[in-house]
Subunit: 202 residues, 2 copies
């Protein structure tokens, strides 16, 4: 009695396996959980996934997520915030991370990825053109680059610094170094090197 | 811009958090993944969860999962298998685990839980009555208890042995001991004790 004789279960398992962080065993566990322990969750998930893309849009200007009237001048974050600073992030989810963390009061701009020629992502596939338009139109004085500290993120930051500085803005990058609560002993070499390079006067 | 100003995203995050193995961060990651990377998965999950309970039923006799015509005499596993041995498991998912593993050719019976008075689960809440009826009607000679080796599972096995033996059947239990590929050094004391007690002549 292999699982492929159960097409409804198999389809559901395959759908959950497409999600990040869920492997074959996890997906099966979820589907059996829905079947035998918590039938109500199946309809909750069905309903919320069904309407997700109808209810959530990307702002046409800053590319962050918006609910209700979509984007443009209406986007609440584009609208009433300090216009002289723009924080550039990789994905819409990163906006929520920065909002949770800090008292950042400026605007956001989502690149929708990073430059990665091996994956076929070139500068023109990102929202760099929109960002340059915004810098010219919105009186931006500083661009804070908050891309992930990976190879592709670093490369994209260097590229952005090169094309944005000629527009007359200050281009800064989030500090790299030891994460709070960590131990020197377990820090990797690159992180330690960066935290030495970026040391601060006390 | 906290997440609770995004009701559609929040509803979807809450729905995924109800699933086993998915915490708050994982649920958020999944929803942002659906929104920005893989919109198609959202509709696949919605559709398969929506129809899951319509397409999958529990067999009224052995309580394992069936698709198509539901249960009773129609259940393919109840139907054409060796009738003298019944393997008793805790959850419908356990049937698939045993089928994947072995050449077991007998029938199954799903208890739909284990006795656990603290959680309000008493013997009459399980399918023990059905199991006793089946033993009387189907010419069963051996009952293999394949419950999880936990406190509640062990207690339920002892209870079942007590009530089933008077019906004139052999009651056996899955062997407990060292899992294959493990190291003695890392085995817990109870597992080692059980594997010593259950040692086999070579």
């Amino acid at each position: 009695m292999p699982l492929d004789r159960f097409p409804a279960i198999q389809e559901c398992v395959n759908a959950f396996r497409r999600l990040p962080g869920i492997g074959p065993k996890g997906a099966q566990r979820i589907v059996f959980h829905l079947l035998t322990q918590d039938p109500e969750s199946a309809s909750l998930i069905a309903a919320s996934c069904e309407s997700l893309h109808e209810r959530v849009n990307l702002c046409g200007r800053c590319h962050i997520l918006v609910e209700g009237e979509a984007g443009g001048e209406n986007c609440t974050v584009c609208g009433g915030r300090e216009p002289s600073v723009i924080c550039v992030v990789q994905e819409p989810a990163d906006v929520f991370a920065i909002e949770r963390a800090s008292g950042f009061r400026g605007k956001f701009h989502v690149l929708m990825g990073v430059i990665s020629p091996l994956d076929g992502v070139n500068p023109e596939d990102l929202t760099i053109g929109d960002l340059m338009d915004r810098i010219k139109e919105e009186g931006v004085k500083e661009v804070i680059l908050a891309l992930n500290p990976t190879m592709a993120g670093e490369g994209t930051s260097l590229y952005l610094a090169k094309v944005l500085k000629p527009l007359g803005v200050r281009v800064t990058q989030l500090a790299q170094g030891l994460p709070m609560g960590s131990h020197l002993e377990y820090a990797d070499e690159l992180t330690l090197t960066r935290s030495l390079e970026g040391r601060k006067e006390l």
